[in-house]
Symmetry: C2
């Protein structure tokens, strides 16, 4: 497998970085090719803007997705985006490795999503969900957070973590057609002992070694909807 | 009322910008004070990093929220963050005005959230949800998107829009204690006629003029949970 790890954490010595390194080593040890995009180290630019295109289909009015679609065809998309897009297209598995900020990805990683998941390649028209442009690839979300396990789930104070992650898991990764594996979550990280961190590293390693057996999450398929994307009615019983 | 509009769109002539201007004029016309943070025009820096602190509580290892908490007390938080935080604390109503990118806020706005919702002021310890540091303020999310109305809702292809917005509405705005009003949504914006846009502007203006009557969304309250944040059991009937 070709594996891309997209990593975003402002502290190079963080536990999140240890998860990144462990994933790279473990997967390389299994004979996979691994690339890492360390967005903070790269000083990646997270801001989608007119400057992302050397020439514009419409220089007077920016519709970002339209310029992506035209720009990627014409080879006039910013070099940093094209580089990341090439890595993404090369990858069979993409691991998103980050600390949860506001129940979501850090802005740095959101900017990678905004800029690199280019319209016309990753999605467009009726190419989304199971028909998305990245169908056939797997996605794994690996995150660290401050909260405890019992604060999430049905009836818990924040509700199910998967519900908070919905725009990422469903609205982004499943939307572009990726097979989305259940997230790997390290809880309460800033407050736990060295031993508890080692436990997370061991269980992450085991998870990575058995990734082939993982069952992907379920999301909508376009065949369940009509041409105008209304849900198909099931015949009454 | 003091009103802060946080606006993030890469095209100054966009319909989203028209919504911003309409909100500013309408609310000023009612005698309210209005400030606008136009993040693209300000070239706002969305990246949370060690550079946000002139001195660090722990110079060897960055825990961002901890440095926020210590930095804001000691007056050593970056000037651009302090300026935005001052506007936020001044405001009675904050309007978040943006195009939906990947069922979420653009990275530019996510960075404002990551950096400006400072730990120790906006939340911290048991100060969240109804006990959050921004209790007493109202939040309105005003967004534009490409999708159509019928693609959202129970059974629709993307499910309810509020579910996609959960990390923003609940995990961010309700979390810091704000009273979260139902979002104002302009659908299918890149594809609609001038007249359809005028309709959205008229209905937005009416909504803003009647904002006092808006009923806020419901979210958890800390009194429903015990000291360790486990849900309190209801007595069996």
């Amino acid at each position: 497998m070709n594996v891309l790890i997209v990593h975003a954490h402002p502290e190079p010595q963080s536990f999140t970085s240890a998860l990144r390194d462990l994933a790279a080593e473990t997967l390389q040890g299994q004979g996979h090719q691994v690339l890492v995009s360390d967005l903070y180290a790269m000083k990646f630019n997270p801001v989608a803007s007119a400057e992302d295109f050397s020439e514009r289909a419409n220089p007077d009015y920016l519709v970002y997705a339209l310029e992506q679609r035209e720009g990627v065809k014409a080879g006039r998309i910013a070099a940093d985006i094209q580089t990341e897009l090439d890595k993404l297209l090369w990858a069979d598995l993409v691991i998103f490795n980050f600390p949860l900020y506001w129940f979501s990805v850090p802005a740095m990683l959101k900017g990678w999503i905004d800029r690199v998941l280019v319209s016309g390649v990753c999605y467009g028209g009726k190419r989304f969900y199971d028909q998305g442009g990245l169908a056939g690839k797997k996605a794994l979300v690996t995150l660290t957070l401050g909260g405890r396990d019992h604060m999430f789930g049905e009836g818990a104070i924040h509700g199910p973590l998967e519900d908070m992650l919905r725009p990422l898991l469903r609205g982004t990764l499943a939307y572009v057609g990726m097979e989305v594996l259940p997230p790997f979550v390290a809880w309460h990280v800033p407050y736990i002992s060295y031993e508890a961190r080692q436990d997370f590293l061991r269980s992450y390693q085991a998870r990575l070694q058995g990734l082939e057996q993982d069952v992907a999450l379920e999301f909508p398929r376009l065949e369940q909807f009509d041409e105008r994307l209304y849900p198909l009615q099931r015949p009454a019983q």
